[in-house]
Every structure is written in C-alpha cells, then in structure tokens.
Amino acid sequence: MGFLFEQDNFALFRDGFLQTIELSALSALLALLLGTLLAAFRVSPVPVLRAFGTTWVTLFRNTPLTLLFFAVTFGLPPLGVHFSHLVFAVLALGGYTASFVCEVIRSGINTVPLGQAEAARSLGMNFFQTLTLVVLPQATRTVLAPMSSVFIALPRNSAIAGAFSVGELYSAQQTFSERGYSIFSIFFWVACAYLLISATVASFFRFLESRLAVAR
C-alpha cells in the first residue's frame, strides 16, 4: 500500500486523477449540451428532426464505447482531423453519453401529465411560459435520479480513454504495474480514487434533489 508515497509515484497518480476529472467534466459538459439538443429534436413537432434524434440515439446507444474510442482515435486522423488525445476522448465519451442524457430528458418530459400543460395553455400561457414555468420544473425533478446514474457512470467509462493514450487513472495503473508494484495495492488506490469521484457526484445529485424537492 505504501508504494504510492515512494519516488514520483504520487505525482503520477495525482496527474492521472486530475486528468480523469478534467476528461469527465469536459465530456459531461458536451453530453449535457448535445443531449439537451437531441432531446429537443426528439420531442419537437417536426418529423425530420425527430427522426434525426432517434437515429443518433439508436446508433450511439448500441455501439460499444470502446469501438467509439477506436473509431475516433484511428478514424479521424486519416481524414485530416488532428486533435490531442484528450479532445478525441471527450468527443467519443461526450457523444456516447449524450444519447443517454437525451433519453433521460425525453422520458422526463413525457412523464409530466398532459393535464398540466393543458391547464397552463388554458390559462393563456404561451409555449415558452408553459415550458419554463410548468413542464420543465416538474420534469427536472423526475429526471434527477436517472440523470445521476448517467453521470456516475461517466467517470467510470472515462477509464477506457486511458487505453487510447490519455494519461488518466487507468494509464497510471498501467505505469505502476509496469514498474512492478503489486497489482492488489495498485488496484486498492485506483479503486479509492474512483469511489471518491462517484461518491462526490452522487452526493452532488442528492444535494440537488433535496434542494428541488417539494411537497406534493
């Protein structure tokens, strides 16, 4: 267990940890933006946009994340697209997670009872008012629980990026095992780091849930 504090091991571990957080945060941002846009497409009254959203979600939800990383890392450079490995990883992980975010938001909007929107409209509210004052506040509460599991899964999935040349926790684990430290003590520390990250995300969502909770 003590190997972490020998030589420069701690610096390597810390850099990996920070890189994992950076990658997860950037991907989460991309996933949220893209996922909201796709969800807007999927609930829109325009059939073409709905079809586009459905196709995107079907394709990305059923493709293994490893294959997406593979496609982005090896498929884009021959097309003349050259970014850093981190940006490639953010594209793959963000695009993949966006499809899950989209499904969560869409099902959240669908759980709002039809009568709520009808009541709002009969009070004379326009589309924007109905959306922001009636539908979204109710949808947000039902969305929080499934959304938290999507965003707890995101840092776990980010480990795959380590196998595609991003220097995060997984690649720190690789380096340590190449240096010959016991796999169990490496696993212990890496496990602690991931548990810390998922616990932080989970408690953030619990905080949001308690803030937004209302007596119904």
Binding site: L65, G80, Q174
Partner: protein, 282 residues
Amino acid sequence: MSLFQRQASASVLYDTPGPRARARYRLFGALGAIGIAGLLWYVVSTLADNGQFDADLWDPFQYTFVQQMIVDGLLATLKAFGLAAAFSLTLGALLAAGQLSDHKPLRWTCTAIVQFFRAMPLLILIVALYYAFFAKDPMWALVLGLTLYNGAVQAEIIRSGVNAVPRGQGEAAYALGMRKTQVMSAILVPQAVRSMLPSMIGQLVVTLKDTSLGYIITYNELLFMGKKIASQPLNAAGFPYIPVVLVIAPIYILLCLLLTALARWIEARGRRGANRRTSAAA
C-alpha cells in the same frame, strides 16, 4: 370524434397545430432536412475526398481469411457474452438472495459486495484480474470481470423487483403458512422476474457491449480482430481503419438491437392475457 376526446398526437408541449403552425412546422422540417442532408453530404464527401471509399482500401474484405477473422471475432465475442450472461445472472440471483436474507451479516456482506462492484470501473477490474490471475488467458479475465460487475447490477435489479411486488402478496403467503423459501420461490420471485425481465435484458445489452473491453486485454474478440485487420494493410492503399469501423459497428448495433427487440417482445407478451389482472392487484 367526440368533442372531449384527445387527439392521438396530443403532446405535453404543443397544442394541436392549426394551419399556420402546420405551415411553420413544414418550413422547419424543410430547413432541418436541408441541414441534415448537408451534414451527411459533408461527412460522405470528406470520406470520399480522403480516399476512404477507394476499392483498394476495401479489398481486404474479399479475402477469405479476413472474412474468417471477422467470423472468429464474432464467435469469440458471443462466447464471452454467453458465459458472462449465464454467470452474471447466476451471481445476480445469489447476491439478491443474500441481500434479501434475514441474517444481518449475510445481508451486509452481499450489499457491500454489490455496492463495491457497481462503483468500480469495469475496465480497471478486468485489467486487474488480467494482470493478477489470467495473463495467459484473457478470456477468463474478461468473463470474470463482466460477471462481477453485471452480477452486481443484476442483483440490484432482482432485489428491487422483489421489493416492488405488492406487500400483500408476501403477507398473504405467510398468512397461508408458507415458509420464507416457499414465499420467495413460489410467490415473489416469479412476479418479480416478470416485471424485471426487460431491465435484466437491458443489462444484458450492456454486457454484450462491454465484451469489447476484451480489445484492451488482447482477447481475440470482434474489435480486436478489426484492429488486427486494419493494422496490417494488404496493399498500398494504406490502413483500412475506417472501412473496418464501418463493417464492425453495424454488427454490434444489430446484435444489440436484436436483444432489445427480444426485451420488447417479452414485455409485450407479459402485458397480454392473464397478467393484465395481476398488475392491477393490491
């Protein structure tokens, strides 16, 4: 149509469109179609400009040994998936039984195991198993890792399914003098499995997708075979990475969609006939 009936297309967000709204939707539809067509055209023309559709680059797929590699990879993927699915469902059932046990130490141990493996990145788990025990045989590292992670998830699904069976069912069974084992096996689990089958199959789709992690520990599954094909060019056309992705991704997507269709079919079948009565009970 009666005056008070809602239209089938009624949505929580929009009123039934009138003539002006319909015209506006058509305009948005046309603009959206143009935008999407432009995007597709851009993607295809970029691929074509960089020679990704040249016949030479796709040539490898005409060789029998390359086709054989893809079939072998697919079979290896399905083998790992089959083993992992069977083991994870078994482990899930055992852990769920432990979590629902009346004995505190057993319950706590099983809950701790489930929570730990659910929070662990699967890749870290598989690679640790690979280095620690299965350096010679990556398939078992993959299968065992998938089993531990998905078993924990399946246990949570089964447990919540059993807890979601209406309370009166278990109470009535106890009142009839059944023992805990009888209540579980004859009353609660059959009802729980029926309602949880779609989620369990959904998790099997995740298991199938995660077999591609075998790529990282050099297990000969579909993606690893794809990498092998792509990294040894057979002619001067270069590395066929994009053709390989375009061949392999549809295989994965098709397999996952087949499993999802199975889940939908079972769900529809469960809603039909005699089960309609039980769902409303209690």
